[in-house]
Amino acid sequence: MSLWNAVIVGLKEIWAHKFRSLLTMLGIILGVSSLIAMSALVTGMEKGAKESLIAVGGLQKMRVEAAPLPVDQRHLRDFATGVTLRDVYALQRSAPEILEVSPQMRLDPQPTLAANGKTYRTWMISGVWPVQLEMMEHTVEHGRMFTALDNELARNVCVIGDGVRDALWGSPEETGEPVIPIGREMTISGYPFTVVGMFQHYESEQERKTRELAEAEAARLKAAGVTNSATGPKRSRGWGGSGRGGWSPFRMKNSTVYLPLNTAWLKLKAGLTNSPAEPKLSDMEIKVRDVGQLDLAMTQIRNVLMVTHRGIEDFSFRTQEDWAEQIGTFISNARLSGGIIAGISLLVGGIGIMNIMLASISERIREIGIRKAVGAGGLDIFTQIVVESTVIAVVGGLAGLATSIGLIRVITYVTPTDNAPIVTFTSMLLAFGASVLIGVLAGLFPAIKAARMNVIQSLRYD
């Protein structure tokens, strides 16, 4: 019996028991579609996580920050210089693997910002050079970044993220029209500063979708004549401010306040602490020329810094490698758990096929006997049963591919805040391949059973 004949027989068998076959296929259909949907969701999440990584500069960026001395150098503590602007100049001149160095002086403890009768504290307030703008992938949407001259003259100017604007002047949702506070006055620890620039609003794909949805909802309510959709009195919803919950690099960027480094040093830091005359930085953001040469760049930086620090290692490196690895681990975990669940449902589908094939051969004992009596060998019967179960799985797999598209739509509809799922060809191929394999495996046992049936007994069977 040729394979083609067996496939035709298999298809006829499915057609002869339409409902039963559909129920049998359902397991495979669900398994395949959940496998594809799961993979699409995880791929979407992966993309979202990588977006975050890129938003803070990607792997190309690293940070050198002040750190406690190693144990064997503890006695040299008093000679440690800390990270200073001298390091920045030295690195700019002597480390060719470095593209850019941006010094940063965090204000710690965080000073209070006040304007418009409101106060706000942000953990992202620091004195920087204008180069920090590119380093942190910031974009000034309104006004300007302060200049080197502003820094040189230690002017009282600052650039803020729109999260700061939201806190002090009100978010667009509250005020209706977005407030652009360029040229307005704000105090930092009581010193008056002029806001010269504001960054664009940073958000992930997910946050953008949520916001657009909320806006659409608000517009709908407005059209319906509902003026105030807020429930109960206005309240703070706990840590994290505006209520969207959780920490994200985008939120962090939105709450940023940048002042010129010299301003931060001379006006805010020198007077507050008993630090030495040389400006001590909290850290340096460094962009390397080539991600592949990260180790070489770090060696260069270390060599330069060991000279400027007179051999005292009071600094440490922080790269985004850990974060990238965390993303990788998280994604592979999500893939694994989703894969296990989808795999189990495929397995259940396979068991369903095996069950129905066993039922099918026991109701076709006589048919098998007849086929054998007219000359079918065990192998012919075996092939027929395996092909039939494979055909069920293949048809189920194809239906599953079609269903997965619908399933993804449903998931996107139910949870629109999720990262947009991305269906990959590989996942479709994998899911389909798995369903075919399961079909073959599920057919094996019933096929062996059918092939071993005794001719005479099966001919007599009623």
Partner: protein
């Protein structure tokens, strides 16, 4: 040399420690072109004999030669091939596949012989012509009368041009008249030179064959039943001509 040669063939079943000899030391020759019947009451061992002769089963002891080939040691796979090429079966309950139409049922043995689609169709139609059933090719077995179904089964038995045709109670499920038509068909096949073996418990049917082999308690009875010897077989075939 005879087409079928059985030498000291026994078939022994073990049922709860008890030994049952369904066939006991049977030796038998059936020549090419013979038209013979195997008769005996139920439980006599005639079905076992037919199964062994028809390569559906292997003997416990003894040797069988079919068309010069020793088959007592053949594997199930080889037995299937022999059934496919050299033997045609006709059963009491027709044993057609209900999901296939007439032509597909007749084509079935050729599928396992690996014959291509077009030749299968041609040969199936030819075989159906031989049994005079050419007008209901696309019908399912359930849409045919008993006699028509049995003719489809005979066409299926003929289609691979076998040396031997076994018919196990071929008229057992048919009315007398239809039975006569079917028997006449076997007779014609015999005239055309095929070896036809009828298995039956009915002496009247056995009477149509020139040779009768009677089985009793797993052995071939020495003498054919007296009632059979006395029967005149002409009336049975009158009116069933072709």
């Amino acid at each position: 040399m005879a087409l079928l040669e059985l030498r000291n063939v026994s078939k022994i079943y073990h049922l709860g420690g008890e030994e049952i000899r369904a066939l006991d030391d049977v030796s038998l020759d059936i020549g090419a072109g013979e038209f013979c019947s195997i008769i005996g009451p139920s439980g006599s061992g005639k079905s076992t004999l037919m199964h062994i002769l028809g390569c559906l089963d292997s003997p416990s002891r003894g040797t069988i030669q079919l068309d010069g080939t020793e088959i007592q040691r053949a594997s199930t796979r080889e037995l299937a091939q022999i059934r496919n090429r050299k033997i045609g079966f006709v059963f009491q309950f027709f044993n057609l596949l209900p999901k296939l139409n007439v032509v597909q049922n007749v084509e079935l043995p050729m599928i396992y012989a690996g014959i291509g689609g077009r030749e299968r169709r041609e040969r199936a139609l030819k075989a159906l012509e031989q049994v005079e059933l050419t007008n209901r090719l696309k019908n399912r077995p359930s849409q045919l009368s008993g006699g028509q179904q049995q003719r489809v089964a005979i066409a299926r038995a003929l289609v691979n041009d076998p040396k031997i045709i076994f018919a196990d109670e071929p008229t057992g499920n048919l009315d007398t008249h239809t039975g006569e038509v079917i028997l006449a068909l076997f007779r014609r096949l015999s005239h055309e030179g095929r070896t036809v073996i009828l298995v039956t418990h009915n002496p009247e049917i056995a009477a149509v064959t020139p040779r009768r082999i009677e089985i009793r308690n797993g052995k071939i009875a020495d003498k054919v039943d007296d009632r059979l010897a006395g029967l005149d077989r002409t009336p049975l075939l009158s009116g069933a001509g072709h």
